[in-house]
Subunit: 489 residues, 2 copies
């Protein structure tokens, strides 16, 4: 851990050495209990003090009747309480010297004037006692590095490289399943709720300094401190990419955001301008937000906009070419020496254009190593998109034809493919260029799962692959521009 991150004002909120928990009981059908369970299941190693008026233990932990009864003041209080008592409890925490809180409870700003007044009180208390808190109306923190998860859903991914700052708690928890399936994880995910005390900008500063975070994703319904956001984002963007999905640009999106976190979202074009100025890559959907983070966090940046598409099938090649052009990538013709390398590897029914259409590879090794290796040697090519079909189905009959039973042939095919995938994955490091796969097959089956587990992004459509590579190219340009403008980190 670098020294700078421990000095960040949110450090002990996100990496607490001890926790007081308000609102858990021994009743499992209860949001507070579910959240305390998440903290326990994550394997949190610090001290936890459940605060409960009547129970002597909660989920097996010694409980205390009030925060002033605990042996010491922990770094963090988690509040999952009825709206009306949140203020008093926060004040008790402040008096006790607890410096950080996660206020999960809702019913504040987002519920109307009465809730807004209660939220004002939380803000005054925090100021009086020098506290920082996430929320209210949030799900708080998931930080696998500190083994803390204050959300009600189990975090079953490993520690990852994606930092998330989200104005939706759901977009933290709902991504766990997807990230796990892709062998990805959060470095730290933060749900900011109504942002009464800690806002997106604070989170951006934290994630910018966090050494575990290689790329920052943001779900944005509103930006409350525009100027400061731009300042911080430009500084962070020099070090690592920031990707944002903005919802609220449409009239109905705006209304939905208002009832969600009490945020007043602005027109789409305005936000487009702010994000551009801030050096933030804009994703058009939540799916894209994570696609972009995946590619940007796991691949070297392309040195330019020139991509090549490798396919064994015309349709998926043409669809990718169309998507590349619409995304602003270029598909230059291959250089003469590349064509010489390819000629013996591509049958006469194929095409040595761009897309390179192999039709039917002579050997599987050609498709997984020799051809992409030749393409990446081309100095004029900055990125490679490869279309993948499930080769296991195509390989095992040829092994079975040697007289082996089908089950043994399938096993050998998987083994053969596994070796090929190691080679394919190594292309990224060998050439220092991004390689993104795409396929219509299930990413949960071999060999795509294997390729993904080895660290190569494989996306479920040519368009998603093209857009992800374009986002990388966009970030590379942006970073150059920030440097040219003399931006400092």
């Amino acid at each position: 851990m670098s020294s700078s991150i421990t000095q960040n004002p949110l450090y002990y909120l996100i990496n607490p050495r001890g926790i007081a928990f308000f609102g858990a009981s021994n009743n499992f059908i209860n949001m507070g209990t579910m959240i305390l369970n998440s903290v326990l299941n994550m394997g949190y190693e610090g001290q936890i003090y459940p605060i409960h008026p009547k129970e002597s233990t909660v989920l097996g932990l010694t409980a205390y009747t009030a925060i002033d009864q605990t042996p010491q003041a922990p770094d963090l209080a988690i509040l999952v309480l009825p709206t009306k008592i949140v203020g008093d409890v926060l004040e008790q925490c402040g008096r006790r010297g607890v410096k950080n809180a996660v206020v999960v409870s809702g019913g504040f700003q987002e519920s109307g004037p009465e809730g807004a007044a209660m939220q004002e009180r939380l803000m005054r208390i925090a100021e009086q006692y020098g506290m920082r808190f996430l929320g209210p109306n949030c799900l708080g923190v998931a930080n696998p590095h500190c083994k803390i998860n204050t959300t009600p859903l189990p975090y079953e991914c490993g520690p990852g490289f994606i930092g998330l700052a989200s104005q939706s708690g759901s977009f933290v928890t709902q991504m766990y399943d997807q990230l796990r399936r892709l062998s990805l994880g959060f470095s730290t995910a933060l749900s900011v709720g109504n942002e009464a005390n800690v806002d997106l900008v604070d989170c951006l500063e934290y994630l910018g300094d966090d050494p575990h975070t290689k790329v920052i994703g943001m779900y944005v319904e509103t930006i409350r401190r525009g100027r400061r956001f731009v300042e911080v984002a430009r500084r962070v963007a020099l070090k690592k990419p920031i990707v944002a999905f903005y919802v609220g640009g449409s009239e109905t999106g705006r209304r939905a955001a208002l009832s969600h976190t009490g945020a007043l979202a602005g027109p789409d074009k305005l936000y487009d301008g702010i994000l551009r100025q801030a050096g933030v890559i804009r994703a058009q959907t939540i799916t894209e937000l994570f696609d972009f983070c995946w590619a940007l966090g796991s691949l070297p940046l392309p040195a330019g906009p020139n991509a090549v598409i490798q396919t064994d099938s015309g349709g998926p090649g043409a669809a990718a070419a169309d998507a590349c052009e619409r995304s602003g990538l270029k598909l230059p013709p291959l250089g003469p020496s590349t064509i010489e390398l390819l000629r013996p590897l591509v049958p006469h029914t194929g095409s040595l254009g761009n897309p390179v259409d192999i039709t039917f590879p002579r050997e599987f090794r050609n498709y997984y190593w020799d051809i992409p290796d030749a393409l990446l040697r081309d100095e004029n090519i900055h990125a490679l998109l490869i279309y993948f079909v499930l080769p296991v189905e195509l390989i095992y009959p040829s092994i079975a034809a040697q007289g082996l039973p089908v089950s043994e042939a399938k096993r050998q095919a998987v083994e053969l493919v596994s070796g090929l995938l190691d080679q394919t994955r190594s292309l990224i490091d060998v050439h220092g260029k991004p390689v993104v796969g795409y396929s219509f097959n299930s990413l949960e089956q071999e060999p795509l799962r294997g390729l993904i587990a080895r660290g190569m992004p494989v996306l479920s459509s040519p368009q998603r692959a093209a857009r992800a590579v374009a986002a990388m190219s966009q970030y590379a340009r942006l970073r150059q521009k920030l440097i040219a403008q003399g931006q400092t980190a």
Copy 2:
């Protein structure tokens, strides 16, 4: 089978009573052998005559040295042969009285002038002998109703309702896995290749008449007979929806299409106009093509553009609202009587706006039946989008809390959910309105898999769900317009 479909000129090409197969051997690493294997694995019940110069049996079937040696002339010849001998073999088939062919072999129009001349010859032979053929450079037919599959990949879906006409063979075979995972299937899928004799328009006419086809998908790189396409499509669109993905509108897409099927694609705007005039819904990606077909083929049409979003989470609600508006759907406020029905079902932290945000449902039954039922009763609402999280994870702890072991609690939770899903699915028939789910969880896990298996589309993002419902609304309007214009089927 209606009488009209058997009179369609392509009927015995797509539903052959017997097949001659050229190009299969007993060597498994061979495209011809793989395709003959596909035909056999599909369970084709007619006679198959492999033609082979030397072998006496091929894959266990009696082989013949030439087509004039077979006991009778079958309906269909499948040719997977070196380019240069295709013409002679097609001519032999014509002389023998074989009236239909699938020419898988490539190396024709798409390969340059020499190939183009050979393709011309195929066209002349077909004319001379009154033959119809798919290809060259195609994968032919997958028709589970006749148990025929002339593509090299195994078709493991059941018979379905999606008819596909594709200028890419890959977009036939590469969808098998996806369709199977979604409990979907093709009614008939046709890969047209270079369209020397049978083109997209012929396929459209066939699929329009085919009683198994409820919705038609098209992958289009070029339309060769524009005027006829518009005529046929308008007639078909009156009976069933047609959805097309057009690639080739961009410069690079155009070049890729040229090298793929020798097609000269036109500018994007031109095709946009043709498709609109033809009454065809345009999908922006391959993913959308199948999303739209799924929704249009399995749900009643919405009577208007008004949708309601049901969510238990603000972010996914706001993202869906934004996507709905961008897709042209309306999100009207709920009627007073709907709000009365909902009030006891939605906690005070929730919202009775549109999106309806339940935050945390009091009972799971409320989320799966009572609330959507109330929403669909609203006369001003034409379609419902529901956000689904995985409830099994949330349900079993509450069952386990009654003292049951976790495995038993999980089993009971699955059973409970299964009953709920039956109810949720029944909403579509009870109200005669479309209901589309969306989620970020894996569609291959319960309960989403169960919901999908019961016939409710669940899409992997709010945007995809909104776009699918918008496509349904677009088709409903379009159909009204065709009727108003006096279009006849």
